[in-house]
């Protein structure tokens, strides 16, 4: 399609005969240089971030860091155990809430009433939800759950993260379902299958890889978010013993420990950053691979 045409350089070879033409060629070259140069300029901050995170964080990255409680100020050793546990739990709660909601909504807007008012509203609201500041998700969970239960908890943190994850899951699921060729549905109906059977036996299996990609991206994003859990789950020095108690997360630990005057705790904050960056990079690479495979097919 147009993409294919676009990628071929069809610009005519300009023979520089007049001064004006030479100027035009020079200008052309100048902008190409600017464009390519500035594109590679963006590599610098990313490399700087990755370099800092790796060089500061690798020192404490031992197996035990994943299984020990965070150290108190002045203590040596310790780890990120309960932070990883808390992040996993809260992201799990978020996905448990957002995945059914998002995928079912996506099925409704792409398989049932595509053009209904509700479908239009869902699409629009989902787009708007992607733009909601993450701190607002936290305020929402605070105003509803923390205020009514009188305690910060992993449930509150999970709900805040669910609001964040919902639009990502919904919109990627919609794209995934739209990507399933129409012929497959026709064939299914042709063999006498009902709509429900077609969705569950034909459309969904075909869309699962792409839906999973959306889920993974949502997991990666939710795992790194600080603002939603900052006032809803806060922090804890212990392993989890209940869903209704303050819960430590990796992101909150990075924020809090990064401000301490104790070098060991600051280093641990960098190690936690490294864990998060590795998680995020891995999910992105995997997502690319999965998507790439789909496209090739």
């Amino acid at each position: 399609m147009s993409t294919a045409v676009f990628n071929q350089n069809l610009a005519p070879e300009l023979k520089a005969q007049t001064f004006r033409d030479r100027l035009r060629l020079g200008r052309n070259f100048f902008w190409t240089a600017i464009c390519v140069g500035s594109s590679f300029l963006t590599l610098i901050p990313l490399f700087s971030i990755i370099f800092l995170v790796v060089s500061n964080g690798i020192g404490l990255l031992t197996p035990s860091v994943f299984f020990e409680l965070p150290p108190a100020p002045g203590q040596e050793g310790g780890g990120l155990g309960n932070a990883i546990q808390g992040t996993a739990l809260m992201v799990g709660i978020a996905i448990l809430i957002a995945a059914p909601l998002g995928i079912l909504s996506a099925i409704y807007i792409s398989e049932y009433d595509k053009r209904s008012m509700l479908a239009g509203a869902v699409r629009f609201i989902a787009k708007l939800l992607t733009g909601i500041p993450s701190i607002i998700c936290g305020m929402f969970a605070f105003a509803t759950i923390v205020v009514s239960t009188h305690t910060k908890s992993s449930i509150a943190g999970g709900v805040a993260l669910a609001v964040l994850a919902l639009p990502t899951i919904l919109l990627t699921a919609e794209q995934a379902l739209l990507g399933v060729p129409h012929a497959l549905r026709e064939a299914s109906y042709g063999m006498g299958a009902t709509k429900f059977q077609t969705i569950f036996r034909v459309v969904l299996p075909e869309a699962v890889p792409a839906i999973m990609t959306g889920l993974m991206l949502a997991v990666a994003r939710a795992a790194g978010e600080t603002a939603p859990v900052l006032f809803t789950a806060t922090s804890s020095a212990y392993w989890l013993s209940s869903l209704m108690e303050p819960t430590q997360s990796l992101a909150e630990l990075i924020y809090r420990f990064g401000k301490y005057p104790y070098p060991h705790l600051i280093q641990l904050a960098w190690t936690a950053s490294l864990v998060l960056v590795v998680l995020v990079t891995l999910t992105n690479v995997t997502a690319q691979l999965v998507f790439g495979k789909r496209k090739r097919r």
């Binding site: 108190a72 546990q85 992993s154 303050p246 401000k259 005057p261």
Partner: protein, 338 residues
């Protein structure tokens, strides 16, 4: 390895069966001041090692919120840098026992290559923070530093941009020693400084000072100590130049006169010859009576630990260990809790 795998199993089990408690521990909830939070967290970590049946959660939510949660009965104990006012105490029907738990001082850290000791008179440091003294070669500074080769740099005053208790204590001291400061700037958690650049948080100011030649700024003693920043000896009320240290801090605390019935006082400009001028207590807030006797016993055990063995950790973390006389008064107050 065995512990690692068993912990991993525990992690999975806990995620799966989160609502089930591992064992019935006595749980104490505390909330309040952020300034002593690192020390309290360290106490809790060491204390729970020796007393695995007691679990203590301390949330650094700020003194104001700490007092509020304590008054509303949401916590077992509160903590506050500002103690509690009589009006606030009246609102708590179980009664209140204030226990000074530790203390901290604020230092003037500087960045002057080659200068290891710097003595600042009251006139000098008030002048610097009022923006009147702008060069390190100023006679007011030279006068008290004979024989010290101070580089001829401009002074960069480093202040806090965000609002904080550190601001409150430091501006309180400057207001107490200088009427000019009191009228031009005044005391507050967030004030308009006539001069200087601002950093965010103790860590931000510490970083500023480290990066800027000729810088001077106020940070909590612990930040300067842990970052190995040099800090100035300040002239106290008696006219002596004193550096912040556990001893000079203790001297300040010793001169503090408590009223007869309550352990509450702020040494905003202490008298003693060895006393460091800018030091302040921070308090634990306890109820006079507790209905849950298990919690009472656990709490008493914890506070006793903090007042005795816990004080030995203060110095490492940059707090001032409390002098024996004050600890005695605290223990007596703790005994009145039932």
């Amino acid at each position: 390895m065995k512990t690692t795998s068993s912990r991993f199993a525990g992690l999975i089990a806990l995620i799966a069966l989160s609502p089930l408690s591992v064992y019935a521990a006595t749980q104490l909830q505390g909330a309040g001041a952020t300034f002593p939070a690192p020390l309290y967290q360290r106490w809790i970590a060491e204390f729970s090692k020796a007393n695995p049946g007691i679990q203590i959660n301390y949330q650094g939510v700020g003194s104001g919120a700490g007092i509020k949660q304590f008054t509303d009965g949401l916590v077992t104990f509160g903590a506050s840098d500002a103690a509690m006012t009589d009006a606030q105490i009246e609102k708590v029907k179980q009664g209140v026992v204030l226990i000074p738990a530790t203390a901290g001082s604020i230092v003037l850290a500087y960045n002057l290559p080659g200068v290891e000791t710097l003595k600042l008179s009251r006139e000098a440091y008030v002048g610097i923070f009022l923006g009147k003294i702008t060069k390190w070669s100023d006679p007011a500074i030279a006068k008290t530093n004979e024989g010290v080769k101070i580089p001829d740099l401009n002074i960069t005053v480093c202040t806090r941009s965000d609002s904080s208790g550190t601001n409150f204590v430091f501006t309180g001291h400057l207001s107490a020693v200088s009427s000019d400061f009191k009228s031009q700037v005044g005391q507050g958690t967030s004030v308009t400084w006539p001069a200087g650049v601002a950093g965010q948080g103790n860590d931000g100011v510490t970083a500023l000072i480290k990066q800027t030649q000729g810088a001077i700024g106020y940070v909590e003693y612990g930040y300067a100590k842990n970052n190995k920043l040099p800090f100035a000896q300040l002239q106290n009320k008696a006219g002596e130049f004193v550096a912040a240290s556990p001893e000079s801090g203790a001297a300040t605390l010793n001169t503090t006169q408590f009223p007869a019935n309550i352990l509450r006082a702020w040494p905003s400009d202490p008298d003693g010859k060895d006393a460091y001028p800018i030091a302040t207590f921070t308090w634990l807030l306890l109820y006079k009576t507790y209905s849950d006797k298990d919690k009472l016993a656990a709490l008493k055990k914890f506070v006793t630990y903090g007042l005795t063995d816990g004080q030995k950790l203060s110095n490492d973390l940059g707090y001032i260990p409390m002098p024996a006389e004050v600890v005695q008064k605290c223990e007596a107050a703790l005994n009145s809790v039932q």
